[in-house]
Assembly symmetry: C2
C-alpha cells in the first residue's frame, strides 16, 4: 500500500529526468533518447510532422528502424518526448515587474517557442516532461503575487497554454494551406469563399463580419512586407493580443474580487458594484 510501486512512468521519461538507475552491462549504446528526439524534432521542423516516421528518423540517424525501439517504447511516446523537447526551457521572467507583465511575457514566449507541428500531435495528457514542468513552474511563479490560490493559478496556466496552443494551431493551419502566400491573403480568400456559401438571412452576424469593408478590401501588407509567411509568430497577430489581454484581464478581476472577499469580506470597494 505504501509508495513502493513506480506507476506507469514510460521509462524513457525516467531517463529524461535523470533517473537512469540501471547499471551499464551490455554493449555501449550508440543511440540515446535525446539523439532520437532531436532528430525527430529536426525532421518535423523541416518537413512537418507528417514526415516523422520511425523509418525516416532512423535513416536520419544512420541506424536501423528497430533500433529506435530500444530507447522509445512507441511512436506515441516519441511524439510526447518531442513535444517536451521542442518546448525547451522557459525564459527568465521579469518577476519584479508585476504578475501581469510576467504572465504576459510568459505567454508570448510560449507562443514563440511553440512550433506549428506541436499542436498537431494529439494531446499528451497532463504534462510529465521536464521542460513542460519547468514551463508550468515558470507560469506559476509569474502568477505568484496575483492573489490567486495555487489551484486557480494552475487553472490559469492551463488555460493560457491552451489558448496559445489553439492560436498556434490556427496560424499553423493557415500557413500550411497557404503554400507560401501571406497570411492575410489566405484569410481574405477564406472570407470570400465563405461569403458565397452562407445565407445572410440565416446567418446575419457571420455575414456582417464577412462583408465588413475594411476586411473585404485587399489586405495591404501591414509592415514592410517582412516574411510573415516564413515564421508565423502568434505574437504578431492582433487577435492574439486581444485574447491574451482578455484572459489576463479576467484573471485580474477574479483575483481582485477574491482578495476582497478573503481579506475583508465586509469592506466593499467603491464603484465596484453591478
Amino acid at each position: 500500500m505504501a509508495g513502493s510501486d513506480p506507476p506507469q512512468v514510460p521509462e524513457s521519461l525516467q531517463r529524461l529526468w535523470g533517473v537512469s538507475s540501471v547499471v551499464a552491462r551490455g554493449a555501449r549504446p550508440a543511440l540515446s533518447v535525446d539523439r532520437i528526439v532531436a532528430a525527430a524534432i529536426e525532421l518535423a521542423d523541416e518537413h512537418g510532422l507528417a514526415a516523422v516516421s520511425m523509418g525516416r528518423v532512423a535513416e536520419h540517424l544512420g541506424v536501423s528502424t528497430m533500433a529506435l525501439y530500444r530507447h522509445v517504447a512507441s511512436k506515441d511516446e516519441l511524439l510526447t518526448l518531442m513535444v517536451d523537447g521542442a518546448a525547451g526551457p522557459p525564459p527568465e521572467l521579469p518577476l519584479d515587474a508585476g504578475w501581469r507583465t510576467a504572465t504576459d511575457v510568459w505567454a508570448r514566449a510560449l507562443a514563440l517557442r511553440t512550433r506549428g507541428w506541436v499542436v498537431e500531435v494529439p494531446i499528451s495528457g497532463p504534462p510529465l516532461g521536464p521542460n513542460s514542468v519547468a514551463w508550468m513552474e515558470a507560469g506559476l511563479q509569474a502568477l505568484r503575487d496575483s492573489g490567486l490560490g495555487p489551484l486557480e493559478r494552475v487553472a490559469v496556466v492551463t488555460t493560457l497554454s491552451g489558448y496559445v496552443r489553439q492560436h498556434t494551431a490556427l496560424l499553423q493551419d493557415m500557413h500550411t494551406r497557404s503554400g507560401g502566400r501571406a497570411q492575410h491573403e489566405i484569410e481574405f480568400e477564406w472570407r470570400r469563399t465563405l461569403a458565397n456559401l452562407v445565407d445572410p438571412e440565416r446567418f446575419p452576424e457571420v455575414s456582417a463580419v464577412l462583408a465588413m469593408a475594411d476586411l473585404a478590401a485587399d489586405p495591404g501588407t501591414p509592415a514592410d512586407g517582412a516574411d510573415a509567411a516564413d515564421s508565423p509568430d502568434p505574437a504578431d497577430d492582433p487577435d492574439f493580443d486581444f485574447g491574451l489581454a482578455c484572459i489576463l484581464e479576467g484573471v485580474a478581476r477574479l483575483a481582485e474580487r477574491e482578495r476582497d472577499e478573503t481579506v475583508d469580506p465586509t469592506h466593499t470597494r467603491i464603484a465596484d458594484d453591478r
Copy 2:
C-alpha cells in the same frame, strides 16, 4: 478578376451546403456524404477515432472501401466533415438574459456537444461547415450586446471554442488513460507520480501544488458516485467553471473599457485607476 472562380471548396462541402448544381446523369447513388459521415461518427463514438478507417466505415455501410472516395476526396476531408457533423446545430440561447448568460450557456452547450474524439482530429482550419458556421453565428449573437466590435466578438468566440476544445482534450485524455477508473483517481495517481520526479528545490511552486494536502488526500467521489467515467462532462469540472468565468470576466472588462473610451473619451471612471 471578378468573382467567377469558385476556389478550392472541397466539393463535398458544397453538397453539405446544398449547392449540388450538377444534374443527375449516371446511376442513382446508393451512398451519400451524410450517410458516410454518420457511419463514421457512429464508429468514432463507439470505438474511438482510431477505429475510423476507410475500410471499417465502408464495411459498416455494406459497401466497398473505394466507394467512399466517390463522395469524399480523402480521409482528411471525411474527418473535417465528421467534426462539423458531430457539432450538430447550436441550441436556442437565452438572448434576452444578457450577453454574459447567453455566452456562458453557449460555451457549456458546446462543451457538452464536443465528443472526446473531436479534439483528436487535427485542426481543420477556419470553420467552413454549416454547423460550425451556425455555432459561430450563435456565439456572435450571444455577444451582440456586449459592446465589443464585430472582430473582437469573433476573437472571443474563437478563444472560447479553443478553451472548450482544450478542456475537452484534457478530460478526454484522462478518460482514455483511465481505463474505467474515476477521473479524480487518475489525477491523484498522476500527481503522485510527478511528485516522485520533481525536485522541490528546482520547482518549488509545482511541488507545493503537488503536495497540497486537500489534493493528496484520497479523493472522495463528489456526487452520488454517478458514472462520471462514462460521460466526461466538462461542465461538471470546477476548473472549467473557473477558466470560463475568467475569460468572460475579461471580456466584460475590456468591453466596458472600450465603451468608455468610445462613447466618452474624456470621462474617466471613478476608482478605475491602477
